[in-house]
């Protein structure tokens, strides 16, 4: 199978989607931020000039516009930029889009996709480094996808665009250069299917987004010490594939959860709670969370590194639970 980068797979998905579905329009549409990969988007803009719309700096305004457009028959893909900027759009996405189908008793669907770059990108400081996925997960009515591989980003984006529900695409700038195998042609990966990214018998590491990459790096290191780590990637938080996670914990009896949200009430907290409620009997050791510490994200690298989840912190956590 051919091997391409995450950014290439993403752009390829967008090209196929824009070609196949006239209802899709792109609002914002930088996707790769200021990274060199933005050239891929420039090509798409040239290919589909009538489908890209550059809105004013008005996150609530243009996200709301996309929500209204989705209600009225379009399938907009909105690029917010940094996940922190998404806070500006919460009233329109969390209070309108997420509630609409329910509140109208199933009369109106909101098939829109909201893309953003979450997490610690390096030097982003407190206002450009948020991981809003836990807050979003606490808002019923939103689907949440967090791809971590080239194959997944393409397959999940295809599903997101066809979904009749508002979907938040929580992306990470540090994934753009990740390489991996991608099938030729059109394919979609259904939501709610976790993937075992690496099989192992000693400990389950559930990781999301960039942390899947970090967990796989940690597993590589730990294998040298004879510890076999199973890395499970939920790929979507809503819907969540509990079965695969619980099956893995049943197999290994040990659990570390890695996610870039702040620690309190984060994604890791919820995943650990699910295992505590539904898989407690399988556990042979206390569980561990590896997350961003509960402080705003500092600018300076030594402090940033101190608070962020990392390969080393995952290794330490795994060593503690297998002790």
């Amino acid at each position: 199978m051919r091997e391409i980068t995450y950014a290439e797979a993403f752009a390829e998905a967008l090209r196929e989607i824009l070609r196949a579905d006239k209802r899709v329009c792109v609002i914002g549409g930088y996707f790769f931020g200021l990274s060199p990969r933005r050239a891929l988007i420039s090509q798409l803009r040239k290919q589909f000039p009538a489908r890209f719309f550059d809105p004013p700096i008005a996150e609530a305004g243009y996200c709301g516009l996309a929500v209204g457009a989705a209600m009225a028959g379009l399938r907009p893909i909105v690029d917010i930029g940094t996940g922190s900027f998404f806070f500006q759009a919460f009233p329109q996405v969390l209070n309108e889009a997420a509630n609409t189908y329910y509140m109208t008793g199933g009369q109106t669907k909101v098939p829109a996709v909201f893309h953003m770059l979450h997490g610690i990108r390096g030097g982003g400081a407190a206002q450009h480094s948020h991981s809003p996925q836990a807050m979003l997960w606490n808002t019923p009515g939103l689907e949440i996808m967090l791809p971590a591989s080239p194959r997944d980003v393409k397959g999940l984006l295809k599903t997101a665009v066809l979904s009749d529900n508002p979907t938040v695409f929580v992306d990470h700038a540090k994934l753009f250069e990740v390489r991996g195998e991608v099938p030729d042609g059109d394919y979609a990966i259904p939501f709610g299917q976790a993937e075992v990214k690496r099989s192992g018998k000693d400990v389950t590491v559930v990781a999301t987004s960039l942390m899947v990459v970090r967990a796989l790096e940690a597993a590589e290191e730990l294998a040298k010490k004879g510890i076999e780590v199973e890395v499970v990637d939920p790929r979507t938080l809503v819907p969540l594939d509990k079965k695969t996670i619980l099956a893995s914990v049943a197999k290994t009896g040990r659990l570390v959860v890695v996610d870039e949200c702040h620690r309190s009430c984060g994604v890791a907290s919820e995943l650990v709670a699910i295992v505590a409620e539904e898989g407690f009997d399988a556990l042979k050791a206390p569980v561990k969370r590896v997350t961003t510490l509960d402080v705003p994200v500092p600018f300076s690298r030594p402090m940033e590194a101190y608070i962020e989840p990392s390969r080393e912190k995952i290794i330490t956590a795994v060593l503690e639970v297998v002790k």
């Binding site: 516009l65 009225a72 379009l74 209070n95 509140m103 109208t104 009369q107 109106t108």
Partner: protein, 340 residues
Amino acid sequence: MLPKLPREKLLDLYKTMLVMRRFEEALIKLTKSGISVGHFHVYIGQECTGGPALSLLGPHDAVFTTHRNHGHLLARGADPGRLMAEILGKATGYNKGKGGTLHTTVRELGFLTTSGIVGGVIPLATGAAFAAKQRKTDGASMCLFGDGALEEGVFHESLNLAALWSLPVIYLCENNSLGALGQKAGEYSSSTIAARSLLDLATPYGIPAVSVDGTDAGAVHQAVQKALARARKGQSPTFIEAKTFRWPGSRPIWPELLTGETDLKLAWDLKAIPKKYSDWYKKKDGLLRFTRELLKSGRATPEQILEADRAARTQIERAVRFAQESPEPKPEAALEDVFA
């Protein structure tokens, strides 16, 4: 003045406005009888805005409204029974009891969603206009909101977008703060805005803006007709301010039938007008004004007016009965409709 319409259409519009009025009066009476519907807002006194404005929309047009939505839905022809059932939280309600008074929505009449967040629908309506333009449906989007929504940031963000992208949207602001004292007096809130004229908030974006007397059905009809033509032909937005007086019964935090159930005879029997709130009956109640205009122009006789009113009352009585006799939703239905 009366809208420029044939007599039959004028009488249809009048009948709709009577239904709008009698519905709200019946709702207030229901809540006084001990039925709780949560905090609610009535449309009394604004019929001459919503009635003619919404009568002009076509099947491809989208409409967005707010917490003060009952009148708008009825103006588009919603079934008062299913509307009342929704307000009472019944399974037969338009939203299956999931929306209530704040969110009543009738998709088949063009209402895509109804937001209880002040200003919440302004970007949504702008987006529906964007979709109409992209899909070349010839549809327009009408956004109804109160003067309070102008205090929200999304109003300005949306007008900027609508102007930049020339979107076929009509922002119809129903300014019902005239004569209101607001929170300082312990009343329901009113405008808190620095601009001297509400139009000044739209014109900097290059959006044509016009102010009309919201109790003058003809003026509203004309303004909306122009705005719709601009939306359909030129695909560009319009801002309309419809000025209405706050109905005395909407001044308290919870609506009260302070002027009683509307007595249409006051339209022609000026001697019968009570002293208290006499200004309301004489000048500020658009429905009485419309009634007088019908009589004066010879389009209707007092007997025909009363006959139309009897029909409206009967329709509302039936609607209330339907809503009250409707079943409650099954509790576990709470888990349905989260995702499509």
